[in-house]
């Protein structure tokens, strides 16, 4: 078990190094070099020269690479000449909002997937199971823009229950502002998750140990929660870990539909403004979170299943 954890951690560490290196080269590969990407393509040669000296960009590449690492360790992610603040500060503010939205949507999607998936596994080919399967496809295929606008139309414009977007002031208002974006983001993810988990649950319901459990007079509730769930949830955890990047992508779209100032919104803006320091920092961050998500999922799995051998 410990050997496995060490091995798994080193895989994550290697991925991390590759990620950081990749982003480094991405910055240096932009046309005209990083100075142009930082200052914009219409910068004057003098400004470029000043910046190059200031940032050490006139030094040899390996040295710059080391400096890049050093800065990362110090939390210095560069300066956004467009927003006129340190990128680390910018990211700190926006990341918090995004984490709130994305994690709430993730938690909702997981909860829905577990309940719906168990029910679907139990119902199998019966009419109820088929209806669930149909709805999953519909919701999975529904684009975030479409769901978002539909929800805004229904709950904000017609019913006037919830704000159509933006950021609230204070806890209650913030929560109210989050409802529609969270629903929008969670819906397709819940559909995908529950389809996958429902399939796993169904496979488990076919197993003989379920029949043995029924023959012992255990209730369906007990069988679902203590037997089927336990076995079906492991591959599902891996899936959830793997879907973290998709969650961010969905988050980017959701944030732009609801005008919610989070990381996705920032990514969107900085792409339009060609704000490369911010862009590369966000890229790094999403990469790190992805690696972390997968790591957590795998570790959780190995704790749940003592027999898993890392191979």
């Amino acid at each position: 078990m410990w050997a496995m954890i060490v091995r798994r951690l080193s895989v994550s560490a290697i991925s991390l190094v590759l990620l950081v290196t990749l982003v480094f080269f991405m910055i240096h590969a932009t046309p005209g070099g990083p100075a142009y990407s930082i200052l914009g393509s219409h910068a004057s040669p003098q400004a470029v020269a000043v910046l190059n000296r200031q940032m050490g960009l006139d030094r040899p590449l390996p040295e710059q690479y080391l400096i890049w690492w050093e800065h990362l360790f110090e939390g210095r992610l560069g300066y956004s000449y467009i927003q006129h603040t340190a990128v680390s500060h910018l990211i700190g503010v926006y990341l918090e909002r995004t984490l709130l939205l994305d994690l709430a949507a993730l938690a909702l999607a997981i909860a829905v997937a577990l309940v719906v998936g168990l029910l679907q596994g139990y119902l199998a080919d019966r009419i109820g199971g088929r209806i669930i399967g149909f709805l999953q496809i519909v919701f999975y295929a529904m684009p975030v823009f479409f769901t978002g606008i539909l929800l805004i139309y229904g709950f904000s414009m017609r019913l006037d229950w919830l704000p159509p977007g933006g950021l609230g002031q204070g806890l209650a208002s913030h929560a109210r502002h989050l409802v529609l974006p969270v629903l929008t983001l969670a819906l397709p993810i819940a559909a995908g998750f529950s389809r996958y988990f429902g399939h796993q649950a169904r496979e488990e319901y076919r197993q003989d140990y379920v029949r043995t459990a029924r023959a012992r007079g255990l209730s369906e509730w007990r069988i679902a929660t203590h037997h089927v769930l336990r076995n079906a949830v492991r591959p599902f955890i891996t899936l959830v870990g793997m879907m973290i990047p998709a969650l961010f992508v969905g988050g980017v779209l959701t944030e732009s539909v609801f005008n919610y100032p989070g990381l996705g919104w920032l990514l969107w803006r900085s792409a339009l403004d060609q704000d490369y320091p911010t862009l590369s920092a966000i890229t790094l961050l999403i990469g790190v979170l992805t690696i972390l998500g997968n790591l957590i999922a795998d570790l959780l799995n190995s704790i749940l299943d003592v027999r898993v051998r890392y191979e």
Binding site: A124, Y209, R211, T212, R216, G217, S219, R222, H226, N231
Partner: protein
């Protein structure tokens, strides 16, 4: 004992719905098992053995239903119970073990938890009492060094041991009847014999009634006290074991016995019989065995055969073999 049998099934009928019609899959099955009795239910694949057992347990697969008859457990007709009431009887009055011991246990729970799970819930045992009960059950079914194996997972046991553990699971709440649906088919010959000896010991020592389903007559010849042979959803012969093995009266029973060299009678062999059993959706009128029967006569193809013989040996046949003295 009040004299009433532990379990009495009368005219059991199981039907399937398909395309708006109902098809009988199991028909007119009646039997009784006393405490400590062992009834062997035999027949080729697909003849309805498992469905009979499932009906008895209230665990028919979705789409099938009991459509007539009675199932009495200690005098009570369980078909009149609500699903929840019937569920509460499972485990407490009837236990079950099935064919595939490799899959019968949950792979991700240590066995002691599985063994006592039903008892824990039924009798509200605390952890120490539950572990003690688990140990007691594992020792009862003959798991060696049971105390050291409580925390092991199913994959750490051999097939035969897993079947013993599965039996322990079924016995956790002290049921009076054990339904064993081909519990040894997936095991090697020596292990088969061991499991059978275990079941035999349980019925002798604890008065456990056993419904033992198999398609291998030689396996149960030593232990059964009643034999019931099914063909295409119907009982073709049922008899006291001694009578049956002395001379089965139905041609199909003879064919089954003929497949066992040691018990063979020269007249009929299963290998001599052409064809396959009919599907439940195309049962022929009259005797269902008629299309394959070497002794077929004219009425067989028209009329259901009446019972021939007495309480101790009864064959449903228009032209049964003569009764052997026994």
């Amino acid at each position: 004992m009040s004299g009433a049998p532990l379990v009495a099934v009368e005219d059991l009928r199981v039907t399937a719905r398909r395309a708006g019609r109902t098809y009988p899959i199991v028909e007119d099955v009646s039997f009784k098992i006393e405490a400590g009795g062992l009834l062997a239910l035999v027949g080729e694949s697909g003849c309805g053995k498992s469905l009979t057992a499932a009906a008895l347990l209230g665990l028919l697969p979705w789409g099938l239903a009991v459509d007539g008859g009675q199932i009495r457990l200690e005098g009570q007709n369980v078909l009149e119970l609500t699903p929840t009431q019937w569920r509460r009887l499972r485990g407490r009055k009837v236990g079950a073990v099935f064919q595939n011991p490799l899959a019968a246990l949950n792979p991700s729970l240590p066995i002691w938890k599985q063994v006592v799970e039903s008892a824990e819930l039924t009798f509200r045992l605390d952890r120490a009492a539950a572990r003690a009960r688990a140990l007691e059950l594992l020792e009862l079914v003959g798991v060696p060094q049971a105390a050291q194996r409580l925390d092991d997972y199913p994959h750490q046991f051999s097939g035969g041991m897993r079947q013993r553990v599965a039996i322990a699971l079924a016995l956790a709440c002290d049921p009076r009847l054990l339904v064993a649906d081909e519990p040894t088919t997936a095991l090697d010959l020596i292990t088969q014999a061991e499991i059978l000896r275990l079941l035999n010991r349980l019925r002798l020592e604890r008065g456990l009634a056993v419904l033992f389903i198999t398609h291998d007559l030689s396996l149960v010849a030593e232990y059964a006290d009643q034999v019931m042979v099914m063909y295409a959803g119907r009982v073709v012969e049922q008899a006291e074991a001694r009578r049956f093995f002395a001379g089965p009266r139905h041609p199909y029973s003879r064919a089954l016995l003929g497949a066992i060299p040691r018990l063979a009678t020269p007249e009929v062999r299963l290998t001599d019989i052409e064809g396959l059993p009919p599907s439940p959706f195309e049962y022929p009128p009259g005797c269902r065995f008629a299309p394959r029967c070497p002794r077929v006569i004219e009425p067989c193809r028209r009329e259901l055969p009446p019972p021939a013989g007495d309480q101790r040996q009864r064959a449903f046949c228009h032209r049964p073999f003569a009764q052997e003295p026994g």
